[in-house]
């Protein structure tokens, strides 16, 4: 086993990996940009190494600096988390040639599945169903136009190096094609440093169902069932669950077996996910392989009872996979909500700034994976994920209720977050009925913030602010215990609100 692991990431996933290292008796090394000197992962790791200025290209994407940090600290392995260098085959190869273990798939498999076009070809050969699309990337507008006509609109622009919806655009007719390509390429360039894009036929109103796979270095491969990730905004998952309400045992077994076959065809090792689209007629299509630990991995951990990050480290260290497919079971139901620093009331604009107050939800079956703390200044440079709230319960309905209650206890003040919006999603009848597809958010939440149910909350918030203005010095006893707050109604009034005494009674 490794003595020391470097975590080439930030935020909640860096914290997650550091915790796994600690439990396994492995030393942890954090790396951080100038914007992250006070970040939680830096505070928790055994050692921390600065790797450059805030922009990711100069720090978290800087392979040389990260490898230098590994050499300087004597780390034997690098966990890349998700995003940044996690699916960068060049980085995996650099690690291999510098004698540092990359905790992820081998560079050849990574290169294969990371190249979406080659991945499709491999999957087709292995008999895995794929979505009709371009056989290669292109930079010629004419080629794209011809391909789009052949596929038939609507089509989807996808980044070859893609993931997380970055660079992805739906195009409904030819007039929208070139702007979508330009903007998709720009976003792909900024997210992955590679602007190659291609087109695929757009499957309308599909579900997004993915299978978690673990494979050891000797090719023993198992799947740990599915995650349903249909609740998406801008092709970005915001809520995930397992099991999927759309699968029955027969379809689950068939898709799981296909996922294992796909990973074997790619020569894949370590943890990875095979993403499928499931259409209305329960046909499924290979979408892509996510060659990394995923944001939504906790839902699988809770229903399968397997620590995926620990498994990643074990496999990378050369251990044989101890899990056998026939022993694996899905137990109960897990739901995850991603808490983002975005304002749902202004079409999800990013909301950076200082977290003035933070209270984490707790309770039976409640897990909170966070990368922030009270007083932390959320930087503008990176993904807006703050934390993930994950719940487990015996069945789906109970898990949804538990999630709703846990979101009530999720307090992050000072910046905008998506917590209130997610609560409306979890409580939406269509979601509760298990009928949500990837069109769910666009269809049922085209805008948000003026919901009827929110009005009570608004009034209570106003009453609380008024109370605070009236009696900011009242101690821990209740008002009734002090015979009324009259004495406390003093000068601090003027700090909040224009007021006048008297008037109505």
């Amino acid at each position: 086993m490794f003595g020391k692991v470097l975590i080439a990431n930030r935020g909640e996933i860096a914290v997650r990996v550091i915790r796994a290292c600690r439990e396994m008796g492995i030393g942890s090394v954090a790396v951080y940009s100038e914007a992250d000197a006070a970040s939680l992962h830096v505070r928790l790791a055994d050692e921390a190494v600065p790797i450059g200025p805030p922009p990711a290209v100069e720090s978290y994407l800087n392979m040389e600096r990260i490898l230098a940090a590994a050499r300087a600290t004597g780390a034997e392995a690098i966990h890349p988390g998700y995003g940044f260098l996690a699916e960068n085959a060049e980085f995996a190869r650099l690690c291999e040639t510098s004698g540092v273990v990359f905790i992820g798939p081998n560079s050849a498999a990574l290169e294969l599945v990371g190249d979406k076009v080659r991945a499709r070809q491999t999957m087709e050969k292995a008999g895995v169903p794929t979505i009709p699309g371009m056989k290669s990337v292109s930079s010629s507008p004419d080629e794209f136009r011809t391909a789009a006509r052949a596929l038939g609109y609507p089509v989807m622009v996808k980044a070859s190096a893609g993931g997380g919806g970055k660079g992805m655009r739906v195009v409904c007719d030819e007039s929208g094609l070139i702007p979508a390509l330009e903007s998709g390429m720009r976003e792909a360039k900024s997210a992955f440093g590679d602007d190659s894009v291609y087109l695929e036929k757009c499957i309308e109103e599909p579900r997004h169902v993915e299978f978690q796979v673990l494979a050891d270095n000797r090719g023993r491969t198992v799947h740990l069932f599915e995650r349903e990730c249909s609740i998406q905004r801008r092709h970005q998952k915001i809520l995930e669950e397992s099991p999927s309400p759309a699968l029955d045992p027969e379809l689950r077994a068939r898709m799981g077996e296909t996922a294992v076959r796909a990973m074997r065809a790619a020569g894949y090792n370590n943890a990875g996910t095979v993403e499928f689209l499931l259409d209305r007629d329960r046909r499924f299509y290979f979408l892509e392989v996510n060659a990394r630990i995923q944001v939504e991995h906790p839902v699988t951990e809770l229903v399968a009872g397997v620590d995926l990050v620990r498994q990643q480290i074990l496999i990378a260290s050369g251990a044989d996979l101890s899990l056998r497919q026939e022993d694996l079971r899905q137990r109960g139901h897990a739901v995850e909500c991603r808490i983002y620093a975005e304002d749902p009331k202004t079409n999800f604009l990013p909301s950076a700034g200082r977290i003035a107050l933070l209270r984490e939800p707790k309770g039976p079956g409640v897990r909170y994976d966070s990368g922030v703390y009270e007083g932390f200044e959320v930087p503008v440079f990176y993904d807006p994920i703050l934390a993930k709230l994950i719940v487990w319960a015996e069945d789906r309905e109970t898990a949804c209720r538990r999630m709703s209650a846990a979101l009530d206890d999720c307090v992050i003040l000072g910046i905008h977050t998506t917590a209130g919006f997610l609560k409306d999603v979890v409580n939406h009848p269509e979601f509760r009925a298990g009928r949500a597809t990837t069109s769910f958010i666009g269809k049922f939440f085209p805008s948000w913030g003026t919901g009827e149910g929110e009005e009570d909350g608004r009034r209570l918030a106003l009453a609380a602010a008024a109370f605070e203005a009236l009696a900011p010095t009242v101690g821990p006893e209740s008002l009734s215990g002090r015979g009324g707050g009259k004495k406390d109604v003093a000068t601090p009034w003027t700090t909040l609100g224009r007021w006048r005494a008297g008037g109505e009674t």
Binding site: L357, A465, F467, E468
Partner: protein, 170 residues
């Protein structure tokens, strides 16, 4: 006891609320709605409201003139009401009756400028793209007009204070 009346802005919307505390009960009135609740202070940032057999914990924290309040997982920003001169886009300012000074709604980096000075623009046309937290945000004009001045260049880091572009109404 006397009644205090507050003119608040809740997420930018003016709201008037009157409150009194009588026999340890907070009575809040807003329009035709009345709330009577027993209020207990749990800590400097937490209140407990009890009413109608329910208990609700409310968290709040003050930051300058804004108070952030969390009720059942929903967050609100409450501030002192100030007379406003009409609203255009997010945080945009009218420099004169006819002009629009467009700001970025959040800090970020300018990745594209889609117009040139002197260009005619239509309402909702994209002027600038600002990238923040790896997401592209299109900054649009709220009026028809002519681009009078571009204050930024591609690659500039912008905050939500500095104007990006000025549009003169036709």
């Amino acid at each position: 006891m006397s009644v205090a009346v507050f003119d608040f802005l809740l997420d930018g919307e003016p709201r008037k609320i009157s409150v009194e505390i009588r026999d340890g009960i907070l009575i809040a009135r807003e329009g035709g709605h009345v709330l009577e609740a027993e209020v207990r202070r749990i800590s400097g940032s937490e209140l407990q409201f009890r009413f109608g057999g329910r208990s609700i914990r409310i968290h709040l924290v003050r930051d300058g003139e804004r108070t952030f309040v969390s009720v059942d997982g929903r967050a609100f920003v409450i501030s002192e009401s100030r007379p406003e001169t009409g609203r255009y886009g997010e945080g945009d300012e009218k420099t004169a009756e006819t002009n629009l000074r467009i700001k970025s709604p959040m800090p970020g980096k300018v990745t594209k400028i889609a117009v040139v000075e002197g260009e005619e623009v239509r309402r909702n046309q994209t002027l600038v793209i600002v990238e923040a937290m790896k997401m592209e945000n299109e900054i649009k004009t709220a009026i028809d007009g002519v681009v009078k001045k571009i204050h930024v260049a591609v690659g500039d880091l912008v905050d939500s204070e500095r104007p990006l572009i000025e549009v003169e109404k036709k």
